[in-house]
């Protein structure tokens, strides 16, 4: 039997088709994620996926805890809803429009969930 810490998945939005997320912030966050050597999912633009009702949105939001690095939580929630996907309570949205890269990376990389997952 092994005792693993249940680490939240990470989903990063690059907000590629508009300049509303500070470029320096999103690039620093992305570089921090890739430098850390963690597993994560990244999409070019959640808005575009929502507008297309891309089925990938449902795939990207599983049942487990997820840190979703994007923009305002209210916007993210209703973008997913518009695509027919409801975000679960396990999803925490981090806002690159208001928070700096260091704070976001500290949140994503610094604190694994306290909920243990036991696997045989």
């Amino acid at each position: 039997m092994t005792l693993d810490v249940l680490t939240p998945r990470v989903l990063y939005c690059h907000c590629a088709y508009a300049a509303v997320v500070p470029k320096a912030t999103k690039e620093a966050v992305l570089r921090g994620l890739t430098d850390a050597g963690i597993a994560f999912d990244a999409v070019p633009d959640l808005c575009e996926l929502s507008a297309r009702r891309d089925p990938m949105l449902a795939d990207l939001t599983g049942d487990g805890p997820t840190k979703l690095v994007a923009c305002y939580p209210r916007a993210v929630k209703w973008l997913f809803h518009a695509a027919g996907v409801e975000l679960s309570q396990n999803i925490e949205v981090l806002n690159m429009r208001t928070d700096d890269a260091d704070a976001i990376l500290a949140d994503v990389l610094g604190t694994p969930s306290t909920a243990p997952e036991v696997t045989a």
């Binding site: 690059h14 509303v20 430098d35 070019p44 633009d45 297309r52 009702r53 990938m56 305002y72 809803h81």
Partner: protein, 288 residues
């Protein structure tokens, strides 16, 4: 949740395509700099990317095309399949990030995919925690972005018909329930709504009311006056100037880009569309 309509015809033709940067069993990890450059380059080209590390739980991929890039230590077939997932393995040990992206481009070439970034994703998103289903947005929008669902709820149906950078419908929403996530300022961008925001939005609605109580009515009135003046004075320039003044005032109060006015239908078409939208809204409200 109520069933949502198909937003656009193109939604039905979405082909799932994802790139996995694979650093788990059977592969060596990439240098962090290479990994960063590769992921950045892929995102810039519009690809969804999954970085795969040993022991991590990742998003499922249930159908479509998956391109797996890695420094493989075990022989991999170029092509494989896992049920409805077509898998392409490509070793990128000797490639730069740009070259790896070219490999992905080549694999994507045969797929009928929507060109990423061809359209700035600008469209309204409804906050149903706030929306009262008053149908003002349906009555207001001339571009058929809004529609009513089978259960008589307002919804955004034609996102791509929305005019880029125009947030005007959010300005006429009395509940601040319409978001444009790529808008510059809150609360329209999704920021938390404060009491001051609600008051400010109400004031803006009042400003539009000052233009004539109804924006379309204002346009019609101005047009009628212009026509009357034109008939009396046969002064085409003056009529156009009058209409232009009205549009400039409207644009400033609702932050409507000039391009939107340039693409407005004719006054007769506006009248028809407004009447149709009003009829749909009235019918939806009557059936509630």
């Amino acid at each position: 949740m109520s069933a949502l309509p198909m937003a656009d015809a193109k939604a039905a033709t979405i082909t799932r395509f994802r790139v996995a940067v694979y650093e788990s069993t059977g592969a060596e990890p990439l240098d962090p700099g290479v990994r960063g450059d590769l992921v950045s380059a892929l995102l810039a080209k519009g690809y969804a990317v999954t970085v795969v590390r040993r022991g991590a739980t990742l998003a499922r991929f249930t159908a479509g095309t998956l391109v797996v890039l890695g420094r493989f230590t075990e022989a991999k077939p170029l092509e494989a399949a896992d049920g409805p997932v077509a898998i392409h393995f490509r070793d990128v040990a000797a490639l730069t990030a740009a070259q790896a992206v070219e490999v992905v481009d080549g694999l994507r070439g045969g797929e009928a995919l929507t060109k990423p970034g061809a359209w700035k994703p600008w469209f309204p998103v409804i906050d149903y925690d706030r929306c009262t289903n008053c149908m003002q947005c349906l009555s207001f929008c001339l571009f058929d972005v809004y529609a009513v669902s089978a259960d008589k709820k307002i919804q955004v149906q034609n996102q791509t018909k929305c005019k880029t950078d125009c947030p005007a419908c959010s300005r006429v929403c009395p509940e601040v329930a319409i978001l444009f996530p790529k808008y510059r300022h809150g609360p329209i961008n999704g920021d938390v709504i404060g009491a001051d925001d609600v008051r400010r939005e109400v004031m803006k609605v009042d400003i539009s009311a000052l233009l004539g109580g109804d924006i379309y009515q204002a346009l019609r009135d101005r047009s009628a006056k212009s026509k009357s003046r034109f008939a009396k004075e046969r002064d085409e320039d003056r009529a156009l100037e009058e209409r232009q003044k009205c549009l400039v005032a409207l644009g400033k109060s609702l932050e409507i880009p000039p391009e939107v006015f340039a693409s407005l239908p004719s006054i007769d078409e506006i009248r028809t569309k407004a009447d149709q939208a009003a009829a749909r809204a009235t019918a939806a409200l009557a059936d509630r």
